[in-house]
Amino acid sequence: MITLSEITHSIHVKLSGAITNETLLSITEMAIVGIILLGSLVMLSFFLGYMERKVAAFMQIRLGPNRVGPKGSLQIVADTVKLLFKEGLTPNASDKFLFNTAPYIMVITTMLVIAPIAYSNGFQIWDTSIGVLYVSSVSSVSVIGILMAGWSSNNKYSLLGAMRCGAQIVSYELSIGLSLIAIVVLTGSLRMSDIVMSQADGWWIFKGHIPVLIAFVIFIIASTAEINRAPFDLAEAESELTAGFHTEYSGMKFAMFLLAEYINLFIVCAMGATLFLGGWMPLHFGADNAFNHAMDYIPGFVWFFGKTFFLIFVIMWFRWTFPRLRIDQLLNLEWKYLLPISMINILLVTIIAIFGWHF
């Protein structure tokens, strides 16, 4: 069976035959990866946009898009074309430089974060030794983009939305970090590939007893808040602040916020899948047995995307069933409940890791 890593390896061998200069070779390879990444991210956000509409329609006893293309699958393309043709208005009284930079900061941040995610065995853009740390630190840059957008718009709704968002992301980052640390403590490594390999005899959610389960739940709650999706969509809060921090944006600049939102959604779900549900690792129980071998026949990327999209579905499910929290309840939830629980949880996980009580 040909694996994805073999394909990338053969491309690398062919390229190094054609290009002898080592610097030029790596630049070429980076360019190829970059172009593929950009294209696939846009496709991904198209698909997530379509999926969101279909999931929403499923929850709301209606059909969803069903006119453009087979089963409405080209609707999102039509919408994107519409956004492309719309005027990207810049309000007169806005801070024009910040206003126009903010969407790019959002998109660039999300594209940076996607680098260390492992899609399949050996199929990864950048297997850095600080993978988890890198993701959690770079992703927090996006709050700057939101604050810039809200402040520079010179709109009171935008400003309120941005301030809410700042408070929200800064607080929920703590919980996300602590729940990620739970797995790092158990694995002893920040490297994504190590974390996946450590789950070869069972995913952490099964191996790690209740503390890991708690960490997983906290991770899901906090990451929903981190990417500003309902029930934590206070930064947007349609019924309160019309559209929150991106009230003044239109056309492609608005589409960039949307793109960033969907890629962020993918990233947090991919992180959740990698750390808690084994990433591309098939469902294994114990060491060498027939069940494990049978599971190995399903390719790694199927497992990875299966788990990721399951988590994405769960987060979409939240969005279409829950009402929104109020800002003080949101901060209470984090500082009074999630943060203390995660702190105690870290202690439990550490005890489990030290005594090797996990399976």
Partner: protein, 366 residues
């Protein structure tokens, strides 16, 4: 705009997703906390009262459909009652019962829409679609019988414009069955939700005294413990021949107002259930003159719309058109309480409170 006191002033509306129409709220904020709310009215003022002065007593009924467009039938009913009072005609039993059934159907449709919008204002989009399922069914029943889905215009002085459609009874029975089951679904989806309960409990407190002094009525006043159901206290049409409870609350917060409307839906269903099998045979309209002329004097009728007490004052100088018409609309009084209950709350709660007041802005401005 930052005022001299350092307050942050925002204008919610007249174009805003949660004001449900063209209401304009000027809100003084301290961070997220609301310091003062000032409703600005008049964006949809059509001077219906003045228009009515040049319409005949048959015509003026229909101009009121677009006041509270979610209670169009009940508005018409109030106007017809005032004319009937002036004429002193006795409405046939059949017309009375059908009017009452249609009024309760209107109340159900209105409450269903309110429930959907309540979820929408709190950030849950899905309830809206579930609410529309029932509302569409009711609108279909209305369309078959009255010819219109929203502004029924089915009432004439002395009775009804036409008889009911042959499907009316069976479809209404189907609706009762479906709606009963779906109220449980409403509770599953929204009422039982922890976030929803936290958002509504202990916010937007309206005391009994304040409810009376602001002149609130309907579910808003009943949530504060004011017994004010016109159907109970001053029965009109067929309300004196049905058994129903007046739902009263005590807490007066947003949650209580929510629960009361949910319970009212059940009561409305039971009222329809009692009447639907007992529609008497007979005429649908009492005989009146072609051109109605009311005797000189003042005539006042009141009904319970989905939002509260609607009063109609007719002043007649003996001619064929009213000398003066005045509507006491429930939404205007209910809106006046908003500034009182919203003080000191967060913006998110202000929107939730507005949802529990269930405002229809064309009824405020008229």
């Amino acid at each position: 705009m930052i005022t001299e006191d350092g307050d942050f002033v925002i204008n919610i509306g007249p174009q805003h997703p949660s004001t449900h129409g063209v209401l304009h709220l000027k809100v003084w904020l301290d961070g997220e906390t609301v310091k003062k709310v000032e409703p600005h009215l008049g964006y949809i003022h059509r001077s219906i009262e003045k228009m009515c002065e040049s319409l005949s007593y048959r015509q003026y009924i229909f101009s009121t459909s677009r006041m509270d467009y979610l209670s169009a039938h009940i508005n018409n009913q109030a106007c017809a009652l005032a004319v009937e009072m002036g004429l002193g005609v006795e409405v046939p039993d059949r017309a009375k019962v059908i009017r009452t059934i249609l009024a309760e159907l209107t109340r159900l449709a209105s409450h269903a829409l309110w429930w959907g919008c309540m979820g929408l204002d709190l950030g849950a989009v899905t309830p809206f679609f579930y609410a529309f399922r029932e509302r569409e069914f009711i609108n279909d029943i209305m369309e078959e019988t009255c010819g219109a889905r929203l502004t029924q215009n089915f009432i004439v002085p002395g009775g009804l414009m036409a008889d009911i459609h042959p499907n009316f009874v069976s479809k209404t029975k189907e609706l009762i069955k479906m709606f009963r089951a779906n109220i449980d679904e409403y509770n599953q989806l929204l009422t039982g939700n922890v976030i929803f309960q936290q958002r509504t409990k202990n916010v937007g407190f309206l005391s009994k005294e304040a409810a009376i002094s602001y002149g609130t009525s309907g579910p808003v006043a009943r949530a504060s413990g004011v017994s004010c159901d016109v159907r109970k206290h001053y029965p009109y049409d067929a309300y004196d021949r049905v058994q129903f409870k007046e739902i009263l609350g005590t807490a007066g917060d947003s949650w209580e107002r929510y629960v009361i409307r949910i319970d009212e839906m059940r009561e409305s269903l039971s009222i329809i259930e009692q009447l639907i099998d007992n529609i008497p045979e007979g005429d649908i309209v009492a005989k009146t003159k072609q051109v109605i002329k009311l005797p000189k004097g003042e005539f006042y009728s009141r009904v319970e719309t989905a939002r509260g007490e609607l009063g109609v004052l007719l002043v007649s100088d003996g001619g064929s058109t009213p000398y003066r018409v005045k509507f006491r609309s429930p939404n205007f009084s209910n809106l006046s309480a908003l500034g009182h209950i919203a003080k000191g709350s967060k913006i998110g709660d202000l929107v939730a409170m507005m949802a529990t007041l269930d405002l229809v802005i064309p009824d405020v401005d008229r």
